[in-house]
C-alpha cells in the first residue's frame, strides 16, 4: 500500500491547480453536509498535511489535534500512531476500522461516535502509515493526554515518556498535572521532573538557577545529565593577552604545558587556527631528508652520519636554507608563538550565574557521591570480610586450635561447592536444594576431614612442617580428582531466585542479596562456633586440649578423639563456606586454591587459636583490600600484591597476630 501513498503524494504535487480545484469540488457534498462532526472537520482541515505525511510539515496538524480539546482527539492520535487510522479514497474522510467477515472486508467506524457506519472492501481505504519521526511527534502530543488520564499507571507512563525525551513544550503540561495530581508518589516524581526540566527550559534565569540550586546533594544520574551540558566548554586561541572584560562566559585561561593543555596540544590549536606554521615531527623530517639524498649526502652531510638527532637537524636546516624544503618551526619559535597567544576556555552557556550555580550544585553532588561511594565501599568490604571469615574460620579451628596446617582446606571448600552442584542435579528446586546442600556439604567434608585426620595427620602431630607438605599432597590429589570427575570447565551453582537482585539504598549504595546472605551466614557461624567452644562439653575439652594437650589427657580427656572431632568440625565448616562461595563464584577444581592463602593470612593476622582474632583478621584484610582497590580501582591484582606486602609488614609489628594468645599456649 505504500506505493499508493507515494503515488498520491506525487499526484497531488504534480496536479495542475485547476484539477485540484475540480477535485475539491467533487468532495464538496461531504464537506458541505452539516453532520460532519468537529473532529472530522479538524482532520479534513489538515488533510493535506496528514496525507503528505512528512516529519517537517506535520507539526501543525498534530498540534491542532492535541490542542483541540475534542474528546476523540486522543483516540485519533493513538490510532494514528499505531497505524490504525484509515482514509476513505472516495471522499478523503478518516475512519477507524474493525475487521469484518469476508475477505478483505472491514467495518468502518465513525471517529466521533464510535459507531459502525458501513462495511467496505479495504481496497477502498488508505491506511495512514506515519514514519517513526512522526510517530515520535504524535507520542509527544499524546503525553499530555496520558498525564491527564484517570489511570495512575497511564500517568506514570506519561512521566516516563517525558523523562526519556524532555521537550520545552512539556513543561506547561507537567505544571498543570502537578496541581491536579492526587497520587503523592507521582506528584513527587512529576515535581522533580518539573525542576529538572526547568534547569534546561526555565523561562527566566532566576527560575533556572533556583531549580539548579534545588538539586544540591542529589546523586541522581539524571541530575548530572542535565547539569553537565550546562558546563560544556569550547576552546579558543587569541593573539595577545586575555581580555580584561571578556565578552561571554569565560571558564578559565589555559596555560600551555599545564595538565589541561599540553604544550604540543596548544601548538596544534595555533596551527589549526592558522596562527603558526606546522611543527616538524621526527618522521616527517626523516622522510624529507630521505627524499633529498644527493650523491649519498643530505645538505652536505653524509647519509651514514645521519644517525643522531643533531645531525638530522643540521641537515634539515641546510636543506631549508637552500630552499629545498619548507622551514619548520623550531623549538624557540614554538615557545615564542605560545607566549604571544592566549588560550581561553569558554562556557557554551552564556550566563555566568547559571554556570556558577551548576558548578556549586555539581560540587555538592560530588560530595554526596563520594560519601555514598564510601558507604558502598564499606558494604563491599564488609561482604569481602565475611567471605574471608567464612573461608578462614574452619582453618582457624584446625590451625589455631590444633596447630595443624591443612593445605587441603581449600579443597574442602571446593568439595562443599561441588556437593552443592551435585545436589542441584537431583533437586531441581533451588531453594530446597540449598537447604539440602548445606547440611550435606557439612556431612561430606566432616567425613573427609575425619578421614584425613585419622589416616594422615595423627601420624604427623609432632612434625608440623611435614603435616603442611602431606596435606599439600592431599590437596593436589583432590584437585586432580575433582578435575577428573567434573571436568575443567566451571559448573554452575545457581542461587534461588529470592537471592537474585540487590538491596539498593540509592543509585550508588547497593549490595546483592547473595552477599547479604553470606554476611548473615558468617554471623550465624560466628555465633555457632562461639556457642560450641564456650558452652558445650566438647568446646571445653577442645579448649583444654588447645592449652595443654598432655595435661588435658591427664585429666581424662580423650585427646585423640577431640583432635578428630575438631578437625572434622573445621573441615565441615569449610564445606558450608564452599556452598556459599559457589553461589557467587565459578565452581571449578581450583575454587579453593584462590582462598587458601587469604585464609591463612586471615588466621595469621588475626592471631592463632582465637575466633575473635579470626574475625578481626578477616575484617582487617577485607577492609584493607577494598581500600586499596578503591585507591587503584582498575587493578585488583595490585591490590592483592599490596595487601600481602602489608601483611608481611604487619607480622613485623605483631608477630603473633592481632589477638595473641598469652602464656604457655602461645609457645605451643
Amino acid at each position: 500500500m505504500r506505493w499508493v501513498q507515494i503515488l498520491a503524494v506525487l499526484v497531488v504535487a504534480l496536479m495542475p491547480p485547476a484539477l485540484t480545484a475540480q477535485e475539491g469540488a467533487s468532495l464538496a457534498p461531504a464537506e458541505a453536509s452539516a453532520d460532519l462532526d468537529e473532529i472530522q472537520a479538524l482532520l479534513q482541515e489538515h488533510r493535506e498535511l496528514i496525507e503528505e505525511s512528512s516529519r517537517r510539515t506535520i507539526a501543525p496538524a498534530i498540534d491542532a489535534l492535541a490542542s483541540s480539546g475534542l474528546p476523540a482527539a486522543r483516540e485519533v492520535l493513538r490510532n494514528w500512531q499505531e497505524k490504525e487510522l484509515w482514509q476513505r479514497q472516495s471522499d478523503g474522510l478518516f475512519f477507524f476500522v474493525r475487521e469484518a467477515e469476508g475477505d478483505d472486508m472491514v467495518h468502518l467506524i465513525d471517529i466521533a461516535t464510535g459507531e459502525v457506519v458501513g462495511t467496505v472492501d479495504d481496497g477502498d481505504l488508505d491506511q495512514l502509515k506515519p514514519n517513526s519521526g512522526i510517530r515520535g511527534l504524535i507520542g509527544g502530543a499524546l503525553v499530555q493526554f496520558q498525564l491527564r488520564d484517570d489511570d495512575p499507571a497511564m500517568r506514570a507512563e506519561g512521566l516516563q515518556a517525558i523523562e526519556r525525551g524532555p521537550e520545552e513544550g512539556h513543561l506547561g503540561i507537567l505544571r498543570t498535572m502537578i496541581q491536579e495530581e492526587s497520587d503523592a508518589t507521582l506528584a513527587a516524581r512529576a515535581e522533580r521532573l518539573e525542576r529538572l526540566m526547568t534547569i534546561s527550559f526555565g523561562e527566566s534565569e532566576d527560575a533556572r538557577i533556583e531549580a539548579i540550586a534545588s538539586f544540591r546533594g542529589d546523586t541522581g544520574v539524571d541530575v548530572r545529565a542535565a547539569l553537565n551540558p550546562l558546563l560544556a566548554t569550547r576552546r579558543e586561541v587569541i593573539a595577545g593577552e586575555a581580555p580584561e572584560q571578556p565578552e561571554g562566559n569565560l571558564a578559565r585561561e589555559l596555560r600551555p604545558g599545564s595538565e589541561a593543555l599540553s604544550r604540543m596540544d596548544a601548538y596544534a590549536m595555533l596551527v589549526s587556527a592558522d596562527l603558526a606554521p606546522a611543527p616538524m615531527d621526527a618522521s616527517a623530517q626523516k622522510s624529507a631528508l630521505a627524499a633529498n639524498i644527493v650523491d649519498g649526502r643530505v645538505g652536505g652531510i653524509p647519509v651514514a652520519e645521519l644517525n643522531t638527532v643533531k645531525a638530522r637537524d643540521r641537515a634539515y636546516i641546510a636543506l631549508a636554507s637552500a630552499g629545498t624544503v619548507a622551514p619548520a618551526a623550531t623549538e624557540a619559535e614554538i615557545d615564542a608563538a605560545l607566549e604571544s597567544h592566549s588560550f581561553l576556555e569558554w562556557y557554551r552557556t552564556p550566563s555566568a550565574d547559571i554556570t556558577r550555580a551548576a558548578e556549586t550544585t555539581l560540587g555538592s553532588i560530588e560530595l554526596a557521591l563520594a560519601s555514598s561511594q564510601g558507604a558502598d565501599l564499606l558494604l563491599d568490604a564488609l561482604s569481602l570480610a565475611s567471605i574471608y571469615f567464612l573461608a578462614a574460620i574452619g582453618l582457624a579451628i584446625t590451625f589455631g586450635v590444633m596447630g595443624v596446617i591443612n593445605m587441603a582446606h581449600g579443597e574442602f571448600i571446593m568439595m562443599g561447592a561441588y556437593t552443592g552442584y551435585v545436589v542441584q542435579q537431583f533437586v531441581p528446586n533451588y531453594t530446597i536444594s540449598l537447604v539440602v546442600a548445606l547440611p550435606l556439604a557439612f556431612a561430606v567434608t566432616f567425613a573427609a576431614g575425619v578421614a584425613l585426620e585419622r589416616l594422615v595427620i595423627r601420624w604427623l602431630y609432632h612434625r608440623p612442617l611435614e603435616t603442611l607438605l602431606a596435606t599439600f599432597g592431599i590437596s593436589i590429589a583432590l584437585q586432580q580428582l575433582a578435575k577428573n570427575i567434573f571436568g575443567t570447565q566451571a559448573r554452575p551453582l545457581t542461587a534461588p531466585s529470592w537471592l537474585d537482585g540487590a538491596l539498593s539504598f540509592n543509585d550508588i549504595i547497593s549490595i546483592s542479596y547473595i552477599r547479604v546472605a553470606i554476611f548473615v551466614l558468617a554471623l550465624v557461624f560466628l555465633a555457632f562456633i562461639l556457642l560450641v567452644l564456650n558452652r558445650t562439653r566438647l568446646g571445653l575439652e577442645v579448649r583444654a586440649v588447645t592449652q595443654n594437650p598432655r595435661m588435658a589427657a591427664a585429666m581424662g580427656i580423650n585427646t585423640s578423639r577431640i583432635n578428630m572431632l575438631t578437625f572434622g568440625l573445621g573441615s565441615g565448616i569449610a564445606g558450608i563456606a564452599g556452598v556459599a562461595i559457589g553461589l557467587f563464584a565459578q565452581v571449578t577444581s581450583e575454587l579453593g586454591q584462590g582462598y587458601i592463602v587469604q585464609s591463612f593470612m586471615t588466621v595469621v593476622v588475626g592471631g592463632v587459636g582465637n575466633i575473635w582474632g579470626t574475625l578481626a583478621g578477616a575484617v582487617l584484610i577485607g577492609f584493607f583490600q577494598k581500600g586499596i582497590e578503591w585507591l587503584n580501582p582498575s587493578n585488583t591484582l595490585a591490590a592483592q600484591t599490596y595487601m600481602i606486602l602489608f601483611i608481611i609488614l604487619f607480622i613485623q609489628v605483631r608477630p603473633r597476630g592481632i589477638v595473641a594468645l598469652k602464656g604457655r599456649a602461645a609457645e605451643a
Partner: protein, 406 residues
Amino acid sequence: MGDTFLTRRRSTPIFLICLAVLVLVVTLMSEPAGTGAISTSFLKTLGKTLCLCLVAVAMDLVWGYTGILSLGHMAFFGLGGYMIGMWLMYERTRLIVAESLAGAPIPPTDGEIVSAIASQIFGVVGSSDFPLVWMFAHSLPLQLALVVAVPGLLALVFGWLAFRSRVTGVYLSILTQAMTLALSLYLFQNDSGLRGNNGLSGLQNIPGLSGLPQSVISLWFFWGSALALALGYIFAAWIVSGKFGSVIRGIRDDEARVRFLGYPVEGFKLFVFTVTGIIAGIAGALYYPQAGIINPAELAPIASIYLAVWVAIGGRGRLYGAVIGAAFVSLVSTWFTGGQAPDIDLGVYTIQWVDWWLILLGVSFVLVTILAPQGIGGLFDLATRRRRKTSTGPDAGSLRAPEAAE
C-alpha cells in the same frame, strides 16, 4: 689428601663422579657430538633437570639443614630467569630491529632503535616505552649481575624482616608462600614492566649464536648446567661439613638452645636464606634459556611447594637426596604427563596417566612423608647397612651428631 670436606663425606666425590659420567655419556649420545641417540628435546629436558637439581640442593640447604621450610625459592628461581630473559629478549629484538632498519635510506638514531625495540617487546601489553626495570637490559654483564643481585637482595630483605621478628616454623612457610604469591600476582599485571601474563618468550634463541643449531646450544647449556650443579653441590657440601654446618643443624634442631649458646641465630639463617636464594636465581638463569619461555605462573606458590616435595621425596638432610628427588620426580612427571606412560585398562575404566599422575604423586608423597621420611635417599642407608635408629631432621629424637660425620 688431608682431611678436607671432600674426603670427610664420601658422598660428595661419589656424586661428582656420577655427574661427570652422566655428562660424558650424554655428550657421547647427543646429536652434535656423538651418536645422536638422545634427541635435542630430551637433551634440553636433561639440562633443565640439572638446573632443578641445583635449586633442590639450595632447598635442601635451607630446609633440610637449617630447618626453614621456605615456600619461596622458586620465586628466586623465576626472578633469575626473568633477569637473564630480559637481556636475551632485548638483545635479540635489537638485532632484528637493526636488521629491518638497515634497509632504510636514513640510518636510524639510537633513540629510534630503542623505541622500535620497546614497541616490539611491549606491543602485546599496549605500551611502547621501556619501563625503569629494563634500564640495564642492554648490557649482558649488568644483567648477569642482576641475576645474582635481585634474588639475593629480595631474599636478604625478606629474610631480615622475617627472622628479626622471630617468625619461625609454619608461620614462616606461610609468609614465604605469601611473598611468592605477591610477586607472581604483581608480575601478572600488564604494567609490571615484564609483559604481564605473556611473560618473556623466545629465550631459546641466543643472540649472536643464530648460526648455531639448537642441538649445539642445548649441549652447551647442558654442560653449563652440569658445571653449575657441580659447583653448587661442592659449595653446599663445604657449607654443611664444617662448624658452620653444625651450627645450622643446631638451629634446625633447637633454635632457642643455639641462641642461648651465644650464636647469632638470625645472622646464620639470613646467610643461608640469602645464599640459597642466589643459587636458586643462578639455576633459574640457566633453566629458562633452555625452556624458552617464562611467565608469572612459573613463580606461583605451587612451584615452590613442588620443590619441597622433590626434596622430601629424595630425602632431605642429605644433598644427594635432594638431587635424586628433583631428578626422579621431574623426569617421571615428564614421562607421565607427556603421554608416554601406557594407559591402564581396568575394564570399566581406563586410567589415563595424564589425568591420574597428579593423584599418584599426591598420594605417594603422603605415603613417603608418613612411612619413609628418609625418602629415596634412605635406600642408600639400607644398601650401606648403616641403618639409622632414628631419623634426621628437626623432629624429636632425630639423629644429630652422627649426621655431621656422614
